[in-house]
């Protein structure tokens, strides 16, 4: 992990494909921060992935964390 995780998150969040999938023109400030929770599950999954990768988790650990997030969010919705 050479690059700053905030920088990677910014690159992901300005991606056209993401905006297209979320059907929005731009994201809110809460989406751009690791601290605040986004209303979009996809954005939260991206944050979880970058956080886990930046702490040098293994691929399996990263996938587990994303799966746990999805499971919790879907069951609570």
């Amino acid at each position: 992990m050479a690059r700053d995780r905030n920088e990677i998150l910014q690159e992901f969040l300005k991606n056209e494909k993401l905006l297209e999938l979320l059907e929005v023109g731009a994201l809110d400030a809460v989406d751009n921060s690791f601290k605040d929770k986004s209303k979009y599950l996809l954005v939260e999954a991206i944050k979880k992935m970058i956080l886990s990768y930046s702490t040098e988790d293994s691929t399996s650990q990263t996938l587990k964390k994303i799966n746990a997030l999805i499971s919790t969010e879907v069951r609570s919705s």
Binding site: R3, K14, Y53
Partner: protein, 701 residues
């Protein structure tokens, strides 16, 4: 890290103690000026030896380890002055400072004992000592930490671009290799992070997709059919992957053929005819593209006009007329019946006036509406009485569709006018399309004609090989384009098969699919595509940044040199990678640019990479041995100026500033220390290498 100093003891031609072979450096451009054979390359070797324990062997043009080179690295003078039985050492000491202001001393020492006139008992290898300066003294750093500290002096992955010899510059980057730029970007930027994230999301997408398939199979009401459909799905996914890869190859080949054709055009000697050919052809190709675009738009609007201009109503005029006649007849009859009924129609609604008011009017024998008296027996009284007895109007029509028919009739009238114009409207549009087609045919014919003229030009150019290859490349391009069209059709059919299989599987599912499994598959599939697209987006922004930066550096290095032409352009090829090209003002490739020009382009690229995002130039010293050795004389000043301004520290050996008037130029640069080095024979015999040492003099600029 920044390099503070280097000193040598009996290292190669640097005979004598550290004190007499000591060079101190500061920020800016540190120059070591010397004639050939003055010890410049050996100084470069000294830097390299400390870090890598290797020496450049000129006859083999390769780096060899101390274990092989042995006592050869000791100065001949020291060896000759050494007595049998005595031990001498060859040493290089480098002092460096890290960003956090920690000072390190790196010492490499090689020891040998003289056992005969020309015989030596040498140590198997050199020894390395690393010390850190703290509490006013040097403290030895344990060996396991050496590698980490050496890597902080110059990280391995950037070393080829930060530490290099002039004659190596050409091999640092192959401008003809389409993957070269990508490799350098991968190596020198942090884009690998995105590759890692793509790998993670791809694994996640693959696992969650398998989970979903298994889950759907469990819920299937026909397991056998489900398995068959899954097999079809898997096969179609494999085929789609293959077709997409094959299409990428075709795109690459088409692009390569186009580039080759461009290059061949550039080789033609008749510059005027070539320029004329290029501009005429470009204008015609642009015209063809515009005509094609207009045609596509016209075809699109032609279909829309079926509804927009009511062309769909073409040929319905007789039905309109028939409806009109029938409606008129119906309307007449309808009105007649209505008029007949109107005689019995009671104008006031049944509940007006309210019954209670009517009753009171009868009782009070007065009309509340007009205020007149209505005594019993009077006509007025009779009329009020009739209000109580009135009955609802007779419903003469069971289903009254008159308003609908009226609407249809009005539409008839409205559309009837446009129907009359449909034929002329269609033929007008068709004539525009035909006109565009004709223009395209003419333009294509003109392209063929000038291509033929160009063939003649090629023949006249007596370059038969060029003509043959030109035709060959054009044929190749056509063949690859045909292949691509076939593959696209296969891809379309297989994509349809994939979608059908997916729909089939879903139809067999009974019960509710687990929401978490379903959403996990969707989220991971989206993560995968976003990760890929983000990497491409980051890669492209780096490329753009590099292109701008390398042109900026190229301009800086060449702005006082009018003989240098062209600019650097990163041409995107269809497989998503980029090829660096040297192009002219019209973006045409400059063929056969001179070597100096190529070297400058490569150096610009390398410097752009080192000074861009990661800012390697801020944190590490550029060390180069005669970097301008392959450049023409008048190209070098721009290079040194640029290096002095863009790198925090550079240490460069050179023979470019031997003459006093050239040294004056250095005052315009951001200079560090300047030294002049020269071979020195204390006994005056320049043929005797055993007398050779190096005289180092600091020069004031």
């Amino acid at each position: 890290m920044i390099i503070n100093s280097i000193s040598m003891k009996n290292f190669q031609c640097y005979a004598g103690e550290h004190e007499s072979n000591y060079l101190e450096f500061s920020n800016g451009l540190n120059l070591i000026i010397g004639d050939n054979g003055g010890g410049k390359s050996k100084l470069y070797d000294a830097f390299y030896w400390v870090i890598h324990n290797k020496i450049f062997q000129s006859d083999q043009r390769d780096w060899v380890s101390t274990k092989i080179y042995k006592e050869n690295l000791i100065s001949d003078k020291a060896k000759s002055e050494c007595q049998i039985g005595e031990t001498i050492t060859s040493e290089v000491t480098m002092i460096v400072t890290s960003r956090d202001e920690k000072k390190y001393k790196l010492e490499r020492i090689y020891e040998a004992k003289k056992i005969g006139e020309r015989e030596w008992s040498s140590k198997a290898d050199s020894a390395m000592l690393v010390s850190v300066y703290s509490h006013a003294k040097w403290n030895i750093v344990p060996e396991p930490k050496h590698e980490k500290i050496l890597n902080r002096v110059i990280p391995g992955h950037i070393e080829p671009y930060m530490w290099f010899q002039g004659e190596q510059v050409d091999s640092l980057m192959d401008l003809t290799d389409s993957t070269a730029l990508e490799q350098v970007v991968n190596l020198l930027s942090d884009i690998k992070d995105y590759d890692d994230l793509i790998a993670i999301t791809t694994t996640g997408a693959s696992r969650t997709a398998s989970d979903l398939i298994r889950h759907k199979n469990k819920l299937s009401n026909d397991e056998k059919k489900s398995n068959e459909l899954n097999a079809t799905l898997e096969a179609s996914l494999k085929s789609i992957y293959k077709y997409e890869k094959d299409i990428e190859v075709c795109d690459y080949n088409i692009e390569t053929a186009k580039v080759k054709v461009e290059e061949l055009i550039s080789k033609v000697e008749d510059a005027e005819a070539k320029a004329d050919y290029k501009s005429r052809r470009k204008a015609l190709v642009d015209l063809c593209k515009n005509l094609e675009k207009s045609l596509l738009e016209k075809h699109g609007s032609f279909s829309k006009n079926i509804f927009k201009k009511h062309w769909i109503l073409k040929n319905v005029d007789p039905f309109f007329k028939k409806f009109e006649a029938k409606y008129k007849k119906y309307s007449k009859e309808h009105n007649r019946k209505e008029n007949e009924n109107s005689r019995v129609v009671i104008k006031l609604p049944l509940n007006v006036p309210q019954p209670i008011h009517v009753e009171r009017m009868i009782e009070e024998e007065s009309c509340f509406v007009c205020g007149s008296a209505a005594p019993k027996g009077s006509l007025a009284h009779e009329h009020i009485l009739s209000l109580i007895e009135r009955k609802p109007p007779k419903d003469i029509f069971t289903n009254d569709l008159s308003s609908d028919f009226e609407g249809y009739y009005n539409n008839n009238l409205r559309y009837g006018i446009s129907i009359q114009d449909i034929d002329s409207s269609i033929s007008e549009e068709l004539s525009v399309i035909q006109d565009l087609k004709n223009k395209r045919v003419v333009a294509e014919r003109q392209i063929r004609e000038i291509d033929n003229q160009f063939d003649i030009l090629l023949e006249e150019d007596k370059s038969e090989d060029i003509l043959g290859e030109f035709k060959q490349q054009n044929r190749s391009r056509e063949r690859f384009e045909q292949n691509k069209a076939r593959l696209l059709e296969k891809l379309r059919v297989t994509t349809q098969q994939r979608d059908d299989a997916k729909t089939g599987i879903d139809k067999l599912v009974t019960g509710e699919i687990d929401k978490v499994t379903l959403i996990s598959e969707k989220i991971f599939s989206q993560l995968k595509s976003i990760a890929k697209s983000t990497k491409q987006q980051v890669f492209e922004s780096i490329i753009l940044e590099l292109e701008e930066k390398s042109n900026e550096i190229f301009r800086d290095m060449t702005h006082k040199n009018t003989s240098i032409k062209g600019k650097i352009k990163f041409k995107k090829i269809t497989n998503g990678s980029y090829i660096p090209e040297i192009v002219d003002g019209d973006d045409y490739i400059i063929n056969s640019p001179n070597d100096s020009n190529i070297i400058l382009v490569k150096l610009s690229l390398i410097m752009a990479i080192l000074t861009a995002r990661a800012k390697w130039s801020d944190n590490y010293a550029l060390i180069s041995d005669a970097p301008t050795s392959k450049m023409a004389d008048n190209y070098t000043f721009g290079f040194y100026k640029t290096v002095s301004e863009r790198f925090t520290q550079s240490i460069v050996t050179t023979y470019d500033f031997l003459e006093a008037e050239r040294k004056a130029v250095l005052s315009n640069f951001n200079m560090g220390k300047v030294y002049q080095i020269e071979s020195h024979y204390p006994s005056g015999n320049s043929d005797n290498r055993a007398d050779l040492c190096v005289k180092i003099t600091e020069v004031t600029i």
